[in-house]
Structures are given as C-alpha cells and as structure tokens.
Subunit: 515 residues, 2 copies
Amino acid sequence: MARQFVCSKNEPVVQTKAGKLRGFIQDGTYTFHGIKYADAKRFQAPEPVEPWDGVKDALSYGFVCPLLHQDTPSGEVMIPHRYWPFDENCQYLNVWTQSVDPKAKKPVLVWLHGGGFAAGSSIEHVAYDGENMSKYGDVVVVSINHRLNILGYLDLSSFGEKYRNSGNAGNDDMVAALQWIHDNIENFGGDPENVTLFGQSGGGMKVWALMQTPAADGLFHKGIVQSGVIDGFVPEKKVDGTKIVNALLAELGLKEAEELEGVPYSILAEAYNKVSPALEKAGEYVGNTPIPNEFYMGDPRVVGFTEHARTIPLMVGTVFGEFSFGPAIAAKASMPEEKKLELLKKKYGENTERFLRLFRAAYPQKDITDLLFVDTLFRAPTKDFIEKASHNSAPVYSYLFTYEFPYDGGHVAWHCAEIPYTFHNTDKVPVCNEPGVSDRLEEQVFGAWVNFAKYGDPGHAALPQWPASKPGDEAVMLFDRVCELKHNFDHNLVDAVYAVAPRFGEEEPEAPIQH
Amino acid sequence: MARQFVCSKNEPVVQTKAGKLRGFIQDGTYTFHGIKYADAKRFQAPEPVEPWDGVKDALSYGFVCPLLHQDTPSGEVMIPHRYWPFDENCQYLNVWTQSVDPKAKKPVLVWLHGGGFAAGSSIEHVAYDGENMSKYGDVVVVSINHRLNILGYLDLSSFGEKYRNSGNAGNDDMVAALQWIHDNIENFGGDPENVTLFGQSGGGMKVWALMQTPAADGLFHKGIVQSGVIDGFVPEKKVDGTKIVNALLAELGLKEAEELEGVPYSILAEAYNKVSPALEKAGEYVGNTPIPNEFYMGDPRVVGFTEHARTIPLMVGTVFGEFSFGPAIAAKASMPEEKKLELLKKKYGENTERFLRLFRAAYPQKDITDLLFVDTLFRAPTKDFIEKASHNSAPVYSYLFTYEFPYDGGHVAWHCAEIPYTFHNTDKVPVCNEPGVSDRLEEQVFGAWVNFAKYGDPGHAALPQWPASKPGDEAVMLFDRVCELKHNFDHNLVDAVYAVAPRFGEEEPEAPIQH
C-alpha cells in the first residue's frame, strides 16, 4: 500500500544553528539524511560548519570515511551490507523522528556503528536504518559517520600542536556530533537532556570510550554496549605515536609530518598498509583506535570509570556465538551423541568433559555441539565490565542474545546478529524471519532498547523481571525463543573456556566443522 | 509479519552446468545472489567458469566493475542507490524465481542496468531488486554485472589478435551471461525459449545492441528499451582505437599494449581520465561504448535491423522529463499565467508561442510550465527508432511515462523514475508513493512489462487497448494518473523542440528555475 510521501519547498524544513534543512516525510516519519555536523582538516579537530542562507537538502546520505581495505562481499545472508562513496570529508549524520515540534522532547537514540575504529559507516548494515525504530518506538534516532583508521586515529601529537588530539580525531568527531545533537535536536522533536548512545562491536567500544571523555560529559545520558568489550583492542596506556609516523614518512619519501596532510588518501593508505604490519607484529602502536590522553581517560576496566561515567545507566551484553560465522553443524538434530563428542574432543581435547559439564549447567536446552561455538572472547571481558560497572551509582543491565537462527540447519547467533532486532528491522533481513518466533523476540528486544532509552530501565511487560546487576550478581537477560533472567549462569563455563581460548588477533585452532 | 526463511544444507540447491549452487528462499521466492557466469582476462573474451565439486553459496552479490569516477551522493530521494565493492573480476548475475522445477518453464526477464556503458551495476538502484517482480509476476528475474568503461570498451584490436573484440568486451560478457541463462535457467524454473531483455538508459542501449549481435541470436526473444535511444552516444561507424591506446601508453611510460594488462586498475583509470578529455573533445573515439565490428553490427537506426533483430518483439519508451532532475516550479499551482510565460520565454525566446501551442495540443492536462522540462533528447530519437522498428515483422509497442511525482510541489518524471514501477518496487522508493494513485499506476506499468515478457504483448485489463505501432502511426501508451493510448500525439512538439535543443553532451542553457 502506498504511503504518504511529503517533500515540498516548505515541508519538512527544520531550522538548525547553521541554517535550514529540508528532509522528507513518509507516513509520519520525518527523515533527514546526510546532515553535515562538522568540518575538519586532516588530522585536526572538527569545527562547526559554516552557516548558510536558504534551505539545504538533507535527502542523500553523506560520504563515508575511506577505508584501508576494500571489503570482499561474503556472508551477506547473515549481515546484508550497504556500501557508499568515500571521502574524508565525512562528518555527516542522519535523523529519523516522529515530530519536528520543539516541545515534543522525545528520547534520542544515537547509533555508533561498528567496524572497530577503522571501518564501517552509519549506513553500512541494511539493519542500521532508523525509520522503524523511530516509528515503532516513538523516539528520535540519529546515526553518524566520523573519521576512521589513520584519518581518525593516528597519533601525530609529537609532530605539532595542531595534531595534539589526532590520535582521537574520530572520537572528537563523535563529540562534535553529540554537540550538534545537543544544540539542534530539539527542533527535530528530540530531548537534548535524554540522549542514549548505542553501538555494537567498535560501536560499543565507542560508547564506553565516550563515557571516559570529559568533553562529552552532559552530551549524553545513557549507554548501550552491544558486543563491545574485548581484551587487547584499545591501548590501555599512553602510546608512542612516532614510529608509525616516521615509517610512513620514510615510505613516502617525505620529511615533515605536515606533508602527510597533502598526500592523496589512496597513496597514504597504501603506504600505511605496507609499513604497519611489521610494527604491529612487534607490538607497536599503529593507530586505528583511540589512545589515552587528556581527551580520553582510558579503558574503564583498567583506569576505572570517571566520576561522570559512574552516573551513566548502562545496558551491556553479547551474543552466543560472536565470531562463529562459519558453517553450522547442519545435521546436529540427527547426529549421534558419540559423533558430537568426537567433534568436541577435536576442538577441546582433554578439557572436553569439564567444559561439557559446565556447558550443560549453563545451557540445559542447547545442543551440546553449540559448545563448539560458544563465545568467550567478548563474553569474558563483558562480564568483567559489568561486574566493575555494577559498583557505579547508575544501574547496569546485562543481556545475552542466545537465539538460534533458522539458517544452515540451526546457526548460533553471530557478531551483529542481534542488530536487526534492536532496530526493529527484521523485515529487512531475511535470515531474521522465523514465523511464530521472531516477531515476538523482536518486540522483546526492541522494547528493552526503547524502554532503556526512555526510562533508563529496559524492563517491559513482555519480559521476565530484569533487575540491574549487583557486585557479585550478574542478572542476565537471555534473549531466546523463551526469554529468561538468570544469575551468574555461565561464569564457570566462560572462565574455563576463556582460560584456553585464543585471544583477539590470535589464530583459532582449525575448525572441526565439515559442512 | 515474519516471513518463512529457508537456507539449509540441501535447500535450495540448484545444479548448474559447472556445479551446485545454494541460495535462500523467502516466502516462496528463491533467491541466488552473485553467481559467477564467466571469467575473463583483462581486455579479452569471457570464458566459462571452471567446474567445481560440492555446493557453492550464492548468498552475496558479486563484485561490481570498477568505475572511472566515484559518485557524489545527491538526489537520493529521487533515485536511491546501492554501491558495492569493486573488482574487474565482475561477471556475476543474480536470480529470483518462484520455482526450481525444470518443468516450470516460467518467462525469464533479464535486467541490463544503466550508467551508459561506463558505470552502474546490477544492484546500483534500490529499485533493481528482483524479488517483487518475480513474486507478483510469477516470472524468473535475472540481473547481471559485466565489464564497463575501459575494461569493457577499449578497442585494442590493432594491438593483437587476443584483443580483437576488446572494444565490445562488456557486451561479450552479456552474451556469456545470456549463454549461461540459456544453459542453466531451466533448473531455476525458467524457460530458456522465452527470455526478455529489459534495460534503462545504457541498459536500453544494451538491449538494441544485443539485437544487433549475431552471437546473441536465439539467446533472447523479446526486448524492452526504456529511455535507451539517444543520438551521438554509440559510434555509428568503425573507429580508430589506436589514438587513445597510444595516449595511455605514453602517459604510463609503457611501450607495448600488452603491458596495459598488468597496470593496477586505479592507475590505468587515472591515466585514462588524464588523457581522454582532449581526445574526446577532438571528436576521437576514447572507448566507453560498444563499437561496430564483426561482433556488433551497429546502430539499427543507421545500418538497419539485422534479419534476426526484425523478429524480436519490442516495447520502447521514455519518460516525460528525462534529464530534468533539477528543482520543480514549486509554486506552479498558484503562479499567474504571465509569470509562467515569462519563464517560458526566458528558455525558449521567440519559439515560445509556437512551442506552447504544440505543447497544449499534446498535453492538454499539463501545466504549461511543464514545457520547460519536456524531454526531446531521448524522445525524438526514440520515436524515430519506433518508426523504423515498426517496419519489422515483430511488433513494437510504444510508451511514455508522463506521471508527475508528489515531490517538490509536483515534479516531472526524471530519467530512471519509471524503474520502481516496472519492478513493482515502489514500496522501496518513498517518492513513488502517492496514496490512491501509485498502487494502481504500478499495477498498470508492471502488468504491461510482465505481460509483454509472457506473451509478447503488453496489453492487460487495467489498460486501454494498446496496439503495436505501425509505419506512420505511433500508438503511444501514456502512463499517468489516467492511462491513455494516443497516436502520434506529440510529434510536432518533439520535432520543433528537438530542432533547437542542445544535443547530448552539449550544455543546457542556464535553467530559469529558482527553487
């Protein structure tokens, strides 16, 4: 059925600090794509955009920050992507809202995309579209692009005062976006005093990194960290930024760091890709993540939460399988127990029986072959994060997305698999559709995200009681065919498996799975 | 509501000549993305893919041919795009079907994308998705990527036998895709003896170019040319391919044309972009379109239709505004007549009154300011094409999409504007939604496309009688709020305006429109 489309000279036009913007309305949802929230010179701090006269169109998504490597399309049935033209002039955001009345003051959700700090965009996944979340949740949704990889995170602070925060330029862009939201979102029907950050993977890391960023204090009020806590990703201490910069200068035949400002990005990226692997292997800092300095206080699990961060209500969780993207055990429903044990022993050797006992205790309903795919790389640091956050004054809510997908004979949830549910976008992602199951699960997940944004508490009528976690008591909401609230239910399993599991960046032992 | 998703080890798996492929099913629509239909060395003819054992996934769209220039996102509300990773190893196609029963023998529609012969992809527009067309039309839909620009259309024939058809390599890829369809589509429920090509802009040119390509004879049976006839785009005679190649070699400091095979594409493209403008300005051939040779017989309006081409039923048309993408006259509903005349005189000068008389005769219902935007660049050569095709043994049906969009105060149809209607994809393109109007128009347009593919006749119950055009009698179906069949209704207008209009590539006089 045709929906009502409105995009005329005067409607919808919204006044921002810098000038007027025109978006479009579809069946009541106001949409603004590609709003420029800041400008920046390469490696330097973002600045407010120049004001303009008249009305600018906000009808096309903005440029995405260029990446270091092109993606090779694969696994699209699990995570459908959208790619977009690149330009380092990439400080754009998108807004979906149900009202442009400054008195409406709806809760604001700000999506920080994943892809570490080196890749991705505000529209990279089909599931990132904000229309449904705004419509079904009656909230304002904002998603942002910002500088990535060496454009966003290369520490040139030793090479000049103007570069003093270049190691966090990407996060500085995010602060500029939050400032734009603070200054303008009222005219898009949003409440600048109720802003919730949510993000997955690198996006989750961005949430906690911004909690540790004094410049962002007061610009947001709650945070949702989805699969965004992992060991060994973001530097815990001050870094030496000179080595990678000197290697780049040598590779490019340049003398002054300032000359890097003028090198075409494709050449800069090529040089970086050439010189960085050796440094990285030697354990040196090579950019691509935020670094602790006077702008960013550091990982809260290492340096503690800042005083302000302790006041931020949190929802934090992971999914069952995370990096288990590979083929499932297609025949698990009919596979004899001994064959399953054989597969488990091939992966876990002498630990098999112990792990299996712990797995059965944690997941009595799951097939034992799921133990092959259980994630601890995110789950172990996440439960540590939750334990630490539970000492804060603000509450922390824990979840684990354990739903098995109707794919490949039954596939554990992979990294990013929960995103379509959080955005109410399962209609856009075929693999998320299971009649009789997925609509209800979507309401349960989506309701939690929206209620957390509205009230700081994810509980709602379609879920069991969901208390905040307390020190020593992780109260985990399991999102599955039947949602359950459990306490410390998998700690023994996670600790045991994590103790022997390869860390991030290390090689997995050969997968024992034959499709 | 959740749909039924199926993608297991065995379902849906289809046997092709080269091996087995797995796709997915959603509510009965079988979908296969990114099927490799050929491989090719740079500048050389495509070859069949190597056979494989086991089952390959066809779950991710394949690489898109690299472009010469990056797009700058704009006008997305008019034409929403999808971009995708690039690689010259780009011979991929996609299939949507309602059955994988070899006995089903459903009509097959093959989409040839636009973007001249230099840009675009099988998924470039959101509206190119084939699911709805397959579902609502009960047909098999195929869309294909192929080589573009200098990878697909650079004539190196003077430099070696292996390059003899490099000037048509992109079209040769299409023939390979049609051969793949001929050999395999039965196992996807399609009828290899009822294949209809349809394409818009460059895609429309591809349709008539393949009609003039003996290697494709018998591989397709009908053609739909949407806004795909224009003067001065595809060379009419044999070209001299040596100048652009020698310029490239000089720019790159190379001696032998064969060395061009090894140059990274980005460097090749940069060199081409540097040397080609001067040659192009001098009227020299610089690649980017098919060229007449023993593979491609040449423009049917110049050399005549081949004997086989005369047997191909055609549907051919344009849209009202074509390249009129700019702002509409937002206030035209309330603008005084004298002000309108002033705008018209600014554009058409002393011709204004004559043009206006002809416009009112052709379009009695339209606002006279629409005359500012009426297309003749496509329409004039298209009616010439239809006149010439009307002498063939097979029928030719003419249409013109004159619907005014509910955008910007009422916007004439722009180049590509009809595509969402032909694919039954108006649900994916907000600007195509007008309650009470667009659903019916979609059924009218879509029904014509599907019926033409099924029966070689676009007529159906929701449209007025639609005869084929005859010599001297163009019977045009006007797709609009009310669909009408008219005869030679705009010829005087089109001839008059085309006589003074700038040709393709020439500058439009300054637009008189103030938004």
